[in-house]
Amino acid sequence: MARVGPKSPHWVYVVDYAFLNEIDSRVYLFDGDTYRRIGQIDAGFFPGVNLSPDGKTTAVATTYFARGGHGTRTDVVEFNDNATLGKTGEIVIPPKHTQTLANLFTVAYSSDGRFVYTPYLTPAASFGVLDPAKKTVLSEIDTAGCTLVFPWGPNRVSSICESGRLLTVTLDAQGHESSRATSESFFDPDQDPVFAQAVPLSDGYAYVSFLGQVHEINFTQPKPVLRTPWSLVSATEKGTWRPGGVQIGAVHKTLGKLFVPMHRGGDGSHKDGGSEIWVFDLKSHQRTARWQVDTKELGDVISVQVSQDTKPLLFATTVRADLLIFEALTGKLRHDEKKLGQTPQLLLNP
């Protein structure tokens, strides 16, 4: 049996939702320097996938049917050891796992790795708090219709609401609710909704809107604090150039750079892939680069992720199922991995 080998900052976990065969989702671990698949983690049906804070474990929240495509439904959070890509355990959760397309916030860890959160949708919304060490479900928290789990610190989880607000729940040491608070509304869900695919920052999350507004929220304070929104687009570009796709932004935290796939389009184009990748400086909010993507050859870019090292790689997947690897500092395309799976949509980097 081949070995996984020493961890590299240039690894990327690529989640393939396998649209033509949705019960057969999987995660490919790909080496961004050698351009080889290291191995695979199976992921069931409409999975949520995330990495533990120490990078050692991949958690997969998913659904299995007893007879393959039908039969008794069992939902689980499975744990995989990233040193071996072997499954090391699971927690059976109620059959309420939020079955949705690629999103970083359908399973997530607390910052100290002691809790795993996984949202439920029946269609009523709530989330489970799990103990990954003891492999138990600690509690289920009602979220008043608000969805997904945006964790912060050791014991806070936020969910995003149709009213344009964030609900934040604080947990006690046993993983039960100790308090909750709802923010003011920070976006208009009718005029300019934000993507539910928040972009992780070093001090919180950025919610990017369909028209290119960036709503950065500082989560380090007792309550989430909204910074003044800024725009990815100029006044003349607004409405024409838009962010879009699946994983619509990635941040290199120490360099303070934001990467966004951008396309030309109108209403209803928010899932369109980008013909360009724009790069922004998070301090100045200025666009520092604009990479043209050869979409004829490669396909439109739907997801981006950036490695966090000093020679960073920008990973991107396209509508053609290619995985692209760019030098993040220059925009030079180093490699096009053709057809990495069927519909690779989510990119995770330890």
């Binding site: 269609p123 009523a124 009602d142 979220t143 008043a144 219709g145 608000c146 149709e162 009213s163 709802t182």
Partner: protein
């Protein structure tokens, strides 16, 4: 006027008062766009998953506790509908989907009442519902305990 005509006139008046709050929007369309996908074309819900509004909503509206509950359920508290639109949709639903006599004595929601209560969503919806339904059953028709 014949007794039937008096009755129709009274109903007309009641309905006029009832719907005057909703003059600007179409509550039927707001229901269709925002709620019907889960609560159903007959406001019947989905057994075990989505509570019915039919034969339920107007009964909740009979007591302050029930009205408080209705305005703080997830679909109301965090709906994208404005306070006025939400009041109109709830009032329309209560009139349209309840065959019990209590529908005649309905007190319409106003947008003020909605504003006052909706921004404190419930923490444990099912537990609250059970308690409210139990209390309602003591004073008249109540929604089904389970759905």
């Amino acid at each position: 006027m014949t007794p039937g005509a008096y009755r129709s006139a009274a109903v007309t008046f009641a309905v006029t008062a009832f719907f005057s709050v909703a003059a600007q929007a179409s509550p039927a369309q707001d229901y269709m766009l925002n709620c019907m996908g889960c609560h159903g074309t007959e406001a019947q819900g989905v057994p075990g998953k989505v509570p019915p509004l039919a034969n339920a909503l107007s009964r909740f509206m009979r007591t302050p506790e029930g009205r408080n509950y209705v305005l703080r359920v997830p679909g109301a508290a965090n709906s994208a509908l404005s306070d006025a639109q939400l009041a109109a949709v709830l009032n329309w639903l209560a009139v349209t989907y309840d065959s019990s006599e209590s529908a005649d004595q309905l007190v319409a929601f106003t947008s003020d009442e909605v504003s006052l209560l909706r921004h404190q969503p419930l923490i444990s919806v099912l537990a609250t519902r059970s308690a409210v339904v139990r209390n309602l059953a003591n004073t008249g028709p109540a929604p089904a305990a389970r759905y």
